[in-house]
């Protein structure tokens, strides 16, 4: 076991990938000598050189598009998109090309591209630097989407994403990059399957499903609820596409109440999909409607008011109170 931050864990995971697979390479803006704006690729350029850690022209469609071409030639490109809000110039390549190539080719071609996207708010930044666009990608068949919430998962998930033969988007919770935790670099243990949800805290009265940056918030909310005598189970979804509905269903069958929280707007979001599926799968176990906690239907607000926008402990507790009121 080694203690490291999420950023360092991703860095170590990328280092292991580059060392183990000569056909893997990193591509992105400022990821070379600078090590990325969040220093996630720090030191990798010096260690592996300019052909493996590629500072690209400043063009997101070009990054994704050339990564697709490299993957068609048998390479394993790992692209960094600098910020969530800057993925959209590459959206066409991701949704019309990357997601569909395997299907279009009737299974003859594979495009195992990995795209890393730092996402989410709470960092006091300017426009386009705090968004959570995961639902836009989850709606596109052909893509897989995972998001680590702790250093151990971060270390293994980035490597599992590279090993996966499907294209994978890794959403990295940027405000948790400096969250520290233990990493077992010898074996993934319970994190062997990146597409499986984890029950982080067991409870009997209600379930809270979260992922990425809101995981620590949900755990804190569960602690607070315990002081009021409510036993709350917390699930880290880990994978947004596919979603491990079995784990969520099992939990809700036990607790009878479900709150889903994410930073992304609730309308058309992942929470709505979970609410719909769980209402079908566990209708007779539900004591209350599934309640969603998330961003409002507005562009991500300015930094000075983002605290009013982002789900926090109180917002999750308020949702739990509503669930308990039925």
């Amino acid at each position: 076991m080694t203690t490291m931050t999420i950023a360092k864990a991703i860095n170590e995971g990328l280092r292991a990938t580059l060392a183990n697979n000569p056909r893997s390479l990193l591509m992105g803006e400022d990821i070379g000598p600078l090590g990325g704006v969040y220093r996630v690729t720090d030191g990798l350029f010096a260690e592996f050189g300019a052909d493996r850690v590629v500072d690209t022209p400043l063009a997101e469609s070009g990054i994704i598009g050339t990564a697709i071409g490299l993957s068609l030639r048998g390479y394993l490109p790992i692209c960094e998109i600098q910020f969530d809000g800057f993925v959209f110039p590459g959206f066409n390549q991701i949704t019309t090309q990357l997601a569909k190539m395997h299907s279009r080719s009737n299974g003859n071609l594979t495009v195992p591209v990995v795209i890393r996207i730092p996402y989410g708010g709470g960092i006091g930044s300017i426009e386009h630097h705090s968004e959570s666009p995961e639902a836009l990608f989850a709606h596109t068949a052909g893509l897989r989407i995972i998001t680590p919430s702790n250093p151990h998962d971060a270390y293994w998930m980035i490597q599992q994403a590279v090993e996966c033969q499907d294209p994978v988007i890794v959403f990295e919770p940027k405000r948790r990059y400096w969250l520290k935790g233990d990493v077992d670099t010898a074996a993934p243990g319970p994190s062997a399957d990146p597409f499986k949800a984890h029950v982080l805290r067991e409870g009997t009265d209600a379930t809270v499903v979260v992922y990425g940056p809101l995981v620590p918030v949900a755990l804190a909310a569960a602690n607070a609820a315990a002081e009021d005598g409510h036993s709350v189970e917390v699930i880290d979804l880990r994978s947004i596409s596919p979603i491990d509905f079995d784990t969520v269903t099992e939990s809700v069958t036990k607790t009878g109440r479900l709150v889903v929280a994410h930073e992304a707007p609730t309308f058309g979001g992942i929470g709505g999909e979970i609410a719909a599926r769980i209402s079908e799968r566990a209708f007779h176990s539900l004591e209350a409607p599934v309640i969603r906690v998330g961003g409002f239907h507005m562009p991500y607000p300015v930094a000075k008011v983002e605290e009013d926008y982002l789900p926090d402990i109180d917002r999750i507790l308020e949702a739990l109170d509503r669930a308990f009121s039925y």
């Binding site: 390479l25 070009g62 598009g65 490299l70 030639r73 066409n92 090309q97 279009r104 299974g107 003859n108």
Partner: protein
């Protein structure tokens, strides 16, 4: 920091203003900017200080082959159009008029090269030995692809304009890395001789309309930055559905290469000998590691954009007549006959071969099987996916319900 620190370009950009004017005036007529032409519309062979050397490599067999290919693909085009009119295809994208651009460039490629086409590159597909009946699967609605690109190094048609251009550059970046990996593996094995694998290049097709797409720009930036072995082959067929080239560009498209720092050449796209020469030069250059080239093949889409289009709404038939006089097949036939390289029997045989191909394509199209939607479930992801599995299971159960109903009705 002085101006000397700016990257220099080896291509002179003077005279642009004059060319702007000339191009604006020349939209419907002959190009005002110099272009490489070897075989004139009247069938006489001219010379070029650089490219005649490449033309001289072509023996009589090759030239007859070019003609046979062009005639074959034109016949195929007629047949596919007829199949669409008869309701056998949802849509067809005719290539008539662009045979020389496609056959000349495609025949300049080698098997180890990889080609990224647009959806109109039926002639290039022919040169890559793609089964032409497979091209029709997409238009028949039984596949979104239709062939396995690994068999011929001819990629699938991409319908989002220019989206294939960065794929081509990335593929070319992969070829560069292959060469480095092979060199380091050889060095590790103590072998310092030349690489056993032939050097490869990539060629990517797009049109004058798609040249406005951002992906073309980004691709050329990447290709230039990494000196990728890629040839950008732009068929300027003068019309992006109903919009003329002048709306896409105010300068000859080939001139844009200067801005990226690599050569751009305009070639008479209806002259199969010149197209072949220029493409061979560009591909050889790319394979040698000298970087990208932009070729603008100046040609004309004689027919409609697709079978859903009606050119009478946006252009004069006199314009089509003007271009028919530059027909790529007629000029090569004139040359072959004048040089005594082909006789009536040859042209008769070409016609018979075309009819045979058409009959094959017609029969195969009728026989194309409708796929089972289960193949779409199977091909969405490579690895097992619980949602796909769940939806497939539901579909099976749902479908089985109808089977019971049918059985009940039969009883």
């Amino acid at each position: 920091m002085g101006a000397t620190h700016l990257p220099s370009t080896e291509f002179d950009g003077t005279g642009i203003e004059d060319r702007l004017e000339a191009e604006a005036e020349a939209r419907l007529g002959d190009p005002a900017d110099p272009m490489v032409q070897l075989l004139a519309p009247d069938g006489t062979l001219g010379s070029d200080p650089v490219f005649s050397e490449y033309a001289e490599r072509l023996d009589a067999d090759k030239l007859r082959g070019f003609y046979a290919d062009m005639a074959k693909i034109r016949r195929f085009d007629v047949e596919a159009t007829a199949l669409q009119r008869q309701g056998q295809l949802a849509l067809w994208v005719p290539l008539t008029g662009q045979e020389a651009a496609q056959i000349g460039s495609g025949r300049a490629s080698q098997p180890q090269d990889y080609i990224f086409p647009t959806y109109r590159e039926h002639g290039v597909a022919l040169t890559r030995n793609v089964d032409l009946a497979e091209l029709l699967r997409q238009f028949r609605g039984v596949s979104n692809g239709g062939w396995n690109p690994k068999d011929t190094n001819f990629h699938l048609y991409t319908l989002v304009l220019a989206a294939q251009t960065p794929h081509a550059v990335g593929y070319a970046m992969g070829i560069q890395r292959d060469q480095k990996l092979a060199a380091s593996a050889a060095a590790a094995a103590g072998n310092t001789g030349p690489a056993a694998e032939p050097q490869a290049a990539v060629m990517v097709y797009f049109g004058d309309g798609a040249s406005s797409e951002g992906d073309v720009h980004e691709s050329m930036v990447f290709a230039s930055s990494y000196k990728a072995p890629v040839v950008f082959f732009c068929q300027n067929n003068h019309w992006a559905i109903s919009v003329p080239t002048a709306v896409q560009t105010r300068i000859p498209l080939a001139n844009r290469a200067k801005g990226y720092g690599f050569p751009g050449i305009r070639v008479d796209g209806n002259d199969v000998i010149a197209v072949h020469a220029v493409t061979e030069w560009a591909l050889e250059r790319a394979r040698r590691g000298e970087g990208p080239v932009l070729i603008e093949a100046f040609t004309y889409r004689v027919g409609a954009h697709t079978t859903a289009d009606d050119p009478t709404k946006y252009r004069e038939s006199s314009e089509e007549e003007h271009w028919r006089a530059k027909d790529p097949l007629v000029r090569l036939e004139t040359y072959l006959r004048a040089q005594g390289l082909a006789d009536d029997a040859f042209f008769e045989q070409v016609r018979a071969d075309g009819d045979e191909l058409a009959a094959y394509v017609r029969k195969t199209t009728h026989d194309l099987e409708t796929p089972d939607i289960r193949t779409a479930f199977a091909n969405t992801y490579v690895e097992a996916h619980p949602l796909v599995a769940e939806e497939l299971a539901w579909f099976e159960e749902y479908s089985a319900g109808f089977a019971d109903e049918a059985e009940g009705a039969a009883n």
